[in-house]
């Protein structure tokens, strides 16, 4: 992977896939009808992306690692005083990143157990029963409102940087950017091993498989009852 870039390729792919599939999930969820089937598929894909990103936060490049960019309140205060120097997410932005990841995970997780009282339910809804599934639906709807608010804040912050502070953060999220080494912040170290990527992809695939009901007992009743004689 390219040396000196701020964001490695997997992080960038994660981001823009998340944006694209997230829009797809939101739109199909709102439209309903037969598109609700696609909604479920998009949602599972998003779940996979989030799991990938979380694992990548431990085995990925420096700027993607939680241990590196998630900082305490002192660092946030220093950042607000304009004293932060570094590459990657700033200490305040890091909190937004964590909140975004957590809310998206909650959105997808609640969807797995939800039902629409029409003709669709999440692949794990039968595990918890109808009442809990209805509660999951309520959460799914509530969390979505929060997610929209946070996404607006997120994009608003990016636009604020662009227009008011004159810094284009979007470009690096597309082409990786170029990290300048300063005394305080060395150039980020990049995960070079394809193994790290494979591990993250493998864990994500396993999570999607389980979330899609792949681990449920196979002796579930058939979806289609035989037509009755009367």
């Amino acid at each position: 992977m390219e040396h000196g870039a701020i964001w490695d390729l997997p992080t960038r792919l994660f981001h823009w896939l998340l944006v694209a599939v997230g829009i797809g999930a939101a739109v199909t969820g709102k439209i309903g009808g037969n598109l609700i089937e696609w909604h479920g598929r998009f949602g599972l894909l998003i779940l996979g992306l989030i799991v990938f990103r979380v694992v990548w936060g431990f085995v990925g490049s420096d700027t993607a690692r939680f241990a590196r960019f998630v900082r305490g309140p002192r660092a946030v205060a220093a950042y607000l005083r304009g004293e932060w120097q570094g590459v990657g997410h700033n200490p305040l932005g890091a909190l937004a990143v964590l909140a975004l990841l957590a809310l998206i995970a909650a959105q997808a997780a609640s969807g797995l157990f939800a039902n629409d009282d029409i003709a669709f339910q999440g692949p794990l809804a039968d595990l918890v029963g109808k009442e809990a599934s209805d509660r999951a639906r309520a959460w799914h709807s509530l969390v979505f409102d929060g997610l929209i608010a946070l996404a607006v804040l997120h994009v608003g912050a990016i636009v604020f940087y662009l227009r008011v502070k004159g810094r284009n953060l979007i470009r690096p999220m597309i082409d990786g950017g170029e990290a300048r080494a300063t005394g305080a912040a060395p150039r980020p170290h990049h995960a070079r091993s394809i193994a790290a990527f494979l591990i993250a992809a493998l864990v994500a695939s396993g999570a999607v498989y389980a979330a899609a009901g792949g681990l449920l007992p196979a002796d579930a009743p058939p979806a289609q009852c035989a037509p009755a004689a009367w």
Partner: protein
């Protein structure tokens, strides 16, 4: 004495008929049970149509489910949302939103869309193929969702 007995009898009949008159107006709990049950039958019909359009297609089964859906749609479900049923328990606590009782124009519009698509589904089931039924089933589902989004609580 005789006259008093007759008076008592008359009073008894009057009281009893009063009771009957009240029973002709079902209790709110009954109305809520009925509407929840009617919607559950819609869900049953939807589940078997879905199973058929996604798997092995059995036309007779789809026709039965579609006709049942259309029949329920045309049954005058609005009567089950009588005043006094804004809150309460049927098979379980009602999930209707109070707005349904305050905006008859909007409910009428959404219910009308639902009836139209249900009738269309019955027609398509009788004449169309699997793909046509699947598409129309999706159109019907959107009208269920439109009303639920507007007038049914999420839990």
């Amino acid at each position: 004495m005789k006259f008093r007995n007759m008076l008592l009898l008359a009073a008894g009949v009057a009281a009893a008929s009063g009771t009957f008159a009240q029973q002709a107006q079902p209790k709110p709990e009954t109305l809520i049970k009925w509407r929840q049950s009617a919607y559950q039958v819609l869900a049953w019909n939807g589940a078997r149509i879905k199973a058929n359009v996604e798997g092995q297609y059995n036309k007779d089964e789809v026709v039965r489910a579609a006709n049942s859906t259309a029949a329920i749609a045309n049954s005058g479900l609005g009567a089950l949302f009588a005043p006094g049923t804004e809150q309460g328990k049927g098979w379980h606590d009602t999930t209707v939103k109070p707005e349904l009782f305050k905006d008859p124009k909007k409910v009428g519009e959404l219910a009308g869309n639902f009836v139209r698509e249900a009738n269309e589904l019955a027609k398509v089931a009788a004449t169309g193929d699997q793909a046509a039924v699947k598409a129309q089933f999706g159109n019907l589902g959107k009208t269920c969702k439109a009303c639920h989004d507007e007038f049914k609580n999420k839990d």
